[in-house]
Amino acid sequence: MNMPSYTLGQIESGPSCCKPVRHLAVNNLSVSYGGKIVLNEVSLDIYKGCITALIGPSGCGKTSFLSALNRLTDLVPGARVSGQAHFGETDLLDPSLDVMALRRQIGMIFQKPNPFPLSIRRNLELPLREHGVRHRELLAAKVQQALHDVGLWEEVRDRLDAPALALSGGQQQRLCIARALVLEPSVLLMDEPCSALDPIASAVVEELIQHLRGSYTVVIVTHNLAQARRLANYAAFFWMSEHVGKLIEYGQCRQIFESPANDLTAAYVAGLSG
């Protein structure tokens, strides 16, 4: 396999390498859809430059939590988010917040790769242009840098004008990551970014996420416990009780997996439940 090369800040991987500088502060965050609470009173701090994994069974509100952080919940009719969430000094739940500017800061990667039905180049140029980057050479440089950062440059440099949908699934997902990175965000939210990919493509994307550590704050939802263990500095375990999602335990990844404080966590990470 041809491994891509990276230029991002390479920080030694493995748990507990990061200095805990608070980047996102969440307090008593609840999400409800049409009056039905799906996530109840979650409080946790997300640390700068670290990878934080959200684990737990399906339907326990992990994706809702993620969507609340970049206000993508605004798109869901009837969705309501309450509590407090701060991104640095910014109040994330402020109704008058410029969410378009916020989403440039906090990028998101979805479960199913969703490149636009445009050329590879246009996929990256479109969001840049929308955020006011018009200069041709600057656009070209940023496109090349982003593709380089996700290890896609060598693979697609000769066919930048080819349709993005003709790329393989793994390449599409890396293109989507490049498309988020091209806006130079500081936080990347990832909603099961590898689950729609085959094992080899999944490994390439995981390797890429590994290399985002240090340069970006990554919050990743994953059902792959081994992946969470390999990637994360911190892990948050969500569980559903009485049809409402809750945060059960949060801490350093090693502690969550090796000496969980809660019985539910212990059973889940041991593969006994969920």
């Binding site: 993508l72 009719p77 378009m100 990028g107 636009f116 479109l126 349709p163 988020a180």
Partner: protein, 281 residues
């Protein structure tokens, strides 16, 4: 054994139905060609009608038809796309307003064209003072094609995968930008289809135009002149002009040719747009 027989019967029925449709179309076209074909010539296309249309050509009528169509499209396309976008993108949870708009459109789509003619006459010709003019006729036609154009475009937009909307929003793109750069191009085949249905209905229209654009067969000098459309011309020749049948058949051939041409152009354009912008693997 019985099953096989039913199957064969069914196959035969399906085939004959399809053949029947084809035969009807060919019959119609053949009839037109037989009766009006020898009347066709370049001078028929390029000269003015004489003797109430029995001889001469249809040049001013072709020009009026195209002008009326252009006015109708110029009014219907922006208004239709905006309404479709509103219905599909801005009121997705189905508020009361959206339901009311959809229901009105569905009712309007079924209203007989003579009613549109009377409305156009009362509103555009008299109330707005546009008189019998190409403008009145074109705007009346716009009202007529809007319902079907809006509903087809709306369905096209609704069929665009949600993941592109979420993807665009997650990149901090505005709804307008997503609509313009992604959703409308992706929905372009449906939009082109809606447009074709509308143009087909508009070019074939007589009842809505008699009271609005009128039936003056002179070459129009501006959009405020009255102008006779091809369909009105055919109606006039076959109903009110004795000995005008041959010219009526020839005009009908031209009308069908016009519709087929516009259809082909729209198809080619939307395909080109597709292969250039919306490329799927």
């Amino acid at each position: 054994m019985v099953n096989r027989l039913t199957d064969q019967l069914f196959t035969a029925a399906v085939w004959s139905a399809a053949i029947l449709v084809l035969v009807m179309f060919c019959w119609l076209l053949g009839d037109l060609l037989l009766q009006g074909g020898h009347h066709l010539s370049w001078s028929f296309l390029l000269s003015a009608p004489e003797n109430a249309g029995r001889s001469g050509g249809i040049a001013p009528i072709l020009v009026s038809t195209l002008l009326i169509l252009a006015v109708a499209l110029a009014a219907a396309i922006p208004l239709g796309l905006a309404t479709a976008a509103w219905l599909a993108e801005y009121t997705r949870d189905g508020g009361r307003g959206a339901r009311a708009v959809r229901m009105s459109l569905d009712v309007l789509a079924g209203v007989p064209s003579i009613v549109f003619g009377l409305f156009g006459n009362a509103f555009f010709s008299i109330f707005l003072g546009l008189g019998f003019s190409i403008l009145s006729g074109g705007l009346t036609l716009a009202c007529m094609i809007l319902p079907i154009f809006i509903r087809t475009s709306e369905m096209g937009l609704a069929a665009v995968p949600d993941e592109w909307r979420r993807g665009a929003a997650a990149l901090g793109m505005t709804r307008a930008a997503a609509l313009w750069h992604l959703l409308l191009p992706a929905a372009s085949p449906a939009i082109a289809t809606g447009l074709m249905l509308g143009i087909g209905r508009a070019t074939a229209e007589t009842a809505a135009l008699i009271f609005t654009s009128g039936y003056v067969d002179r070459m129009p000098e501006s959009l405020s002149d009255s102008g006779r459309s091809l369909a009105v011309h055919i109606y006039e020749l076959s109903m009110n002009v004795t000995g005008g049948d041959e010219a009526a058949y020839a005009s009908a051939l031209i009308l069908i040719g016009l519709i087929i041409t516009i259809n082909a152009i729209a198809q080619a354009l939307s395909e080109r747009w597709l292969t250039r912008r919306i490329i799927t693997a």
